[in-house]
């Protein structure tokens, strides 16, 4: 190792605290990058392998009842490779020990052999082949939620008849990685399960022998998905088809995509912030080092070291700090990524897990950080490179301070000399001071986002459960019923009030774009289930016309007053042209509404319902649940308490970890910036401050000059950080804006307050550390030191 490199390492060691603080900031950014993109990569690979091995279908379609021969016609559609017909039925379950009614999805399995598509992975027990007619397989999350093992039985209501089903095996399915009930936001494994049954038995129960009501199919590589979907719709329409859809609208796949999109957004938004702050800190430190080592630079050049030798020396300094940071970040990120992937595997129930970190990811991490560090410090390095040796040997001229310009100086009159020193020092280097404040404000901003996420989810829950879907129970019937059917519900124990609901499968077309979404009929002024307009105030549904959620409007490109073609996918299947008469705000999914009477009218029906919203007396809860379980013709029951509970649990699992990391990371930035600023200030002004000590200033007075400056910069950074935090929250909201889920941009005084408190606290701690160093000043040594 050359003498110059030895100098490098000793110098680095001398400022190890600062160097480490910067390395940690880089490390946080890189850890986030490696964690999110590494996990994303792993999830993608795991999912792809799972899909391939268990033959997850490309296209799905549900219909009422079609003869088996229709399958051959579908198979003949160009681009279709393989078709699997099935019987799929949603049923209510009566689970021992569970008061509330649960629902399940029954899916047929071929009587012999395994399904051609959407095969299951056996975790426990055996498959159905050769078993009895009431043998079933259940999904693992559901089995786990109830502690089921092969040999246990469950009771399901098949076509109005209660049947005991014997669990023979516990399985996983690529089709239900995320097993979520239609209309729900998060999985609720206690109240919703997937159950596989022999086709023969299921067909017998529903009178579907020689027929099917669901198809899944795979496509050839060059198939045009939209064309195939249109052809299937045409073929299935006479048989009550409600519209075919591709993987992107398959609920489990879409939720998984949503989760991956979140990882991708995290990987794209967070690391640049950290690397930006790190680049700034590196710049600040290296600039100061170059300033203090002017003499040494001149000396090296005087001895014949080239400009590039000198530049490279300081560049190495930057690079070493960066590499240390990247290394820490890669290790931390790989570790966190492994944990996150394991969590996902557990949460999503993958049968296996691929966690192989791609070396390319590390390469990207290293390159990105080195480039950021290089760009951040190139200006400072240039100073060292172009410094002429003779000039370098001169001590740098004292900085030019000015009296505040006219008008400003009046403000100064009341201040003591130390306060003037603080203000002059800050205003002497306005850009540097600004960037210091900006660095501190970055940590405020990140914390604002962390607390915003927390608050926003609370707000989302409030909007969703207290202001919109205020029902205690939502009941969905099997098929459509006259509105009088609600009277049955009203008579049930504990039911205080019932509101009607009608849901019709439909496809919305506007200007080349189309979406499959249920058209919901509601009371114009529902009190239980309400709709909120874009300013989140309850809305009265217009007498006629369509009301769409802002997300659906955005997806179709439609706005108020536009006329949308609505193809109804059941009954006589009319195509209606409806005017958008209102926009509602929703944060989950996307939907379309109409006044229920208007809906009945346009469809030419008498008053019809497909379900109802109930307010109940909690005391009678158990009796009501029992009654609902015993009522035939009910396809599903959603309970506010369980939906809310599982929503909170899911959010807590996913978001809390994220928020915790953000808080740790932001604190590191705060400490990194404040500590570095204080250290540099101390090194720049050590002589000045020591002189003041000699003049009789106390330690407290001297350190208050140094810390006063920091306090001033931090005070400026706090509001700036809140402002930036709002912007970053806005960015986060846009980044997490998906078809499934959005976050309300909801920031409260508490959000900002907590963020500012943490940063202020970190600043105080860093300040105290540096103050400790001021207290230990060797006055004589500092004064003897040649600047």
């Amino acid at each position: 190792m050359g003498a110059l490199d030895r100098k490098l390492f000793r110098d680095l060691w001398r400022i190890k605290g600062q160097a480490l603080a910067i390395a940690m900031v880089i490390g946080c950014g890189i850890a986030t990058l490696v964690m999110s993109l590494g996990t994303l990569e792993s999830l993608e690979q795991t999912r792809a392998a799972y899909y391939e091995r268990y033959r997850f279908a490309d296209v799905f379609a549900n219909l009422k009842r079609a003869p088996q021969r229709l399958a051959a016609k579908i198979e003949a559609i160009p681009g279709v490779r393989q078709v699997e017909t099935r019987i799929v039925k949603d049923v209510t379950l009566d689970i021992e020990g569970l008061d509330a009614p649960a629902s399940g999805r029954l899916i047929s399995m071929p009587d012999h052999g395994s399904p051609a598509l959407n095969n299951v992975y056996l975790r426990q027990g055996r498959l159905l082949a050769g078993g009895r007619s009431n043998a079933v397989l259940v999904s693992e999350p559901f089995a786990e939620a109830h502690g089921y093992h092969p040999g246990d039985t469950i009771t399901a209501s098949l076509n109005g008849r209660k049947r005991a089903l014997e669990i023979v095996g516990i399985v996983l399915s690529p089709e239900y990685i995320y097993s979520i009930k239609a209309g729900d936001m998060v999985p609720d494994n206690k109240h919703y399960g997937i159950i596989w049954m022999k086709r023969q038995s299921l067909a017998a129960a529903y009178g579907l022998e020689g027929a099917f009501n669901d198809i899944a199919l795979t496509l050839s590589r060059d198939a045009k998905v939209d064309d195939v979907l249109a052809q299937i719709d045409k073929l299935t329409a006479p048989f009550g088809g409600v519209g075919a859809y591709g993987r992107k609208d398959q609920i489990s796949h879409a939720f998984l995509n949503n989760e991956m999109h979140g990882l991708e957004s995290t990987g794209a938004v967070v690391p640049p912030i950290f690397l930006g702050v790190a680049a700034f800190l590196l710049n600040m430190v290296i600039l100061r080092i170059i300033e203090t080592e002017r003499g040494q630079i001149g000396l090296l050049k005087a001895f014949g070291y080239t400009n590039w030798d000198v530049g490279a020396h300081y560049l190495k300094f930057v690079m070493i700090v960066t590499i240390v940071g990247v290394t820490l970040g890669c290790i931390g990120g790989a570790w966190m990524g492994r944990g996150l992937t394991e969590m996902y595997t557990e949460f999503f129930k993958f049968p296996f897990l691929y966690y192989q970190l791609d070396t390319a990811l590390f390469a990207i991490a290293i390159i990105v950080s080195l480039v950021a560090a290089f760009l951040g410090t190139i200006g400072a390095l240039r100073k060292a490179i172009v410094l002429p040796p003779a000039e370098a040997m001169q001590p740098s001229p004292p900085p030019v301070y000015r009296k505040a310009s006219f008008g400003f100086s009046k403000l100064f009159t009341g201040f003591s000399q130390p306060v003037r020193m603080i203000i002059r020092h800050v205003t002497r280097w306005p850009i540097k001071s600004f960037f210091t404040s900006l660095g501190i404000s970055a940590s405020v901003a990140i914390l604002v986002v962390a607390f915003f996420l927390e608050g926003s989810i609370d707000r989302l829950i409030e909007i969703q459960f207290d202001e919109t879907a205020r029902q205690d129970v939502a009941v969905v019937f099997e098929g459509a019923h006259p509105r009088s059917a609600l009277a049955e519900l009203e008579k049930m124990p504990g039911v205080l009030k019932v509101e009607p609901m009608r849901s019709v499968p439909a496809r919305f077309r506007f200007d080349q774009k189309h979406r499959r979404v249920a058209l919901s009929g509601r009371l114009p002024e529902g009190e239980i289930n309400r709709l909120l307009d874009t300013s989140l105030t309850p809305m009265v549904l217009p007498q006629e016309g369509l009301v769409i959620s802002s997300k659906l409007g955005q997806m179709l490109g439609a706005k108020l007053g536009d006329r949308i073609a609505v193809e109804i996918l059941e009954g006589r299947r009319p195509t209606l042209t409806l005017t958008v008469a209102g926009i509602v705000e929703e944060y989950i999914g996307y939907s379309a509404y109409m006044n229920i009477d208007a809906l009945d009218k346009v469809l030419g029906d008498q008053a019809t319902v497909t379900g109802g919203y109930l307010l109940i007396d909690p005391v009678q809860e158990k009796n009501l649940y029992q009654e609902l379980k015993n009522t035939p013709g009910i396809a599903g029951v959603s309970l506010r308490s369980t939906v809310l509970g599982s929503f909170k649990k899911t959010m807590a699992e996913n978001m809390l970890i994220m928020i915790t990391f953000y808080i740790i990371f932001a604190t590191m930035i705060a400490v990194g910036v404040v500590y570095n600023t204080a250290r540099i200030s101390l090194s720049e002004r050590g002589r000045e401050l020591a002189s003041l000590r000699v003049l009789g200033f106390t330690r407290l007075e001297v350190s208050s000059i140094l810390l006063g400056e920091l306090a001033l910069l931090t005070a400026f950074a706090l509001p700036l950080g809140c402002f930036l935090g709002y912007g970053l929250a806005w960015l986060t909201v846009s980044a997490f804006d998906t078809e499934l889920f959005r976050l309300p941009l909801w920031l409260t005084a508490q959000t900002y307050g907590k963020a500012m408190l943490i940063v202020a606290f970190s600043a105080v701690v860093s300040g105290l550390i540096v103050r400790h160093q001021v207290d230990r000043f060797d006055l004589v040594a500092v004064l003897k030191m040649r600047e």
Partner: protein, 238 residues
């Protein structure tokens, strides 16, 4: 007195003007001087007389506003940055008033800093022995006295066997006893290695050490005096 052919440096009309804002400072006003191979030449003058500027230009650390400097046959004033760097690397040794040691390197490492990039260096230990610091090689600058530090600086300058040594107030920060030790080291190097030495001082007593003394005043050469004999440092009184 050495002959014209042996001159190592020739400066002609060397002028340097510093411009700071609206103020022009004439540091050098046309210096013509020849420096001969192997001599010790002392530049004497008050601060601001231009002697440091002159030394910096000769050392390839600075460029003149006008005029030329010849090093042997080469006009160094026409060299670009890279050329000047190579000139300094191959031919020049510098000693400063404030030692300018790298605080994070030991005595030996400070010397090695130079020997590592030199064409034909002596071992750092050898250079340190020449200035009498053979038993201080592994000390850091903070562990050395002022005189010792300056001797390390001299060792650092001579280790590459330069053709010329430029010393800017090498004793300026030292008391006379320590200064004497430093000057002895310089004199010994000149004597034993034949290194041409240009020494700046504002201390008239030191001028007796040199073969010739050049008096600088206000950017001019006021006088050039030739000493009949060089007086050894131990006999100087200051």
């Amino acid at each position: 007195m050495k002959s014209e052919e042996q001159s190592l440096f020739k400066t002609r009309g060397l002028t340097k003007v510093y411009v700071t804002g609206d103020v022009e400072i004439h540091a050098l006003r046309g210096i013509d001087l020849d420096i001969y191979q192997g001599e010790i030449i002392v530049l004497l003058g008050h601060s601001g007389s231009g002697k440091s500027t002159f030394l910096n230009i000769l050392g390839g650390l600075d460029r003149p506003t006008a005029g030329s400097v010849f090093y042997k046959e080469d006009e160094i004033t026409t060299l670009n940055d890279g050329g000047l760097t190579k000139y300094r690397r191959d031919h020049v040794g510098v000693v400063f008033q404030f030692y300018n040691l790298i605080p994070s390197l030991t005595a030996k490492e400070n010397v090695a800093l130079v020997t590592e990039i030199a064409r034909d260096p002596m071992a750092p230990e050898e250079a340190l022995a020449l200035v009498g610091l053979e038993d201080r090689v592994d000390h850091f600058p903070s562990q050395l006295s002022g005189g010792e530090q300056q001797r390390v600086a001299i060792a650092r300058a001579i280790a590459k066997r330069p053709d010329v040594m430029f010393c800017d107030e090498p004793t300026g920060a030292l008391d006379s006893n320590t200064g004497t030790v430093v000057l002895e080291a310089l004199e010994r190097v000149n004597r034993e290695l034949g290194t041409t030495t240009v020494l700046i001082t504002h201390n008239a007593a030191i001028s007796e050490l040199g073969d010739r003394v050049v008096f600088f005043a206000d950017g001019h050469i006021a006088e050039v005096k030739t000493n009949a004999t060089r007086r050894p440092p131990s006999e100087l009184v200051w």
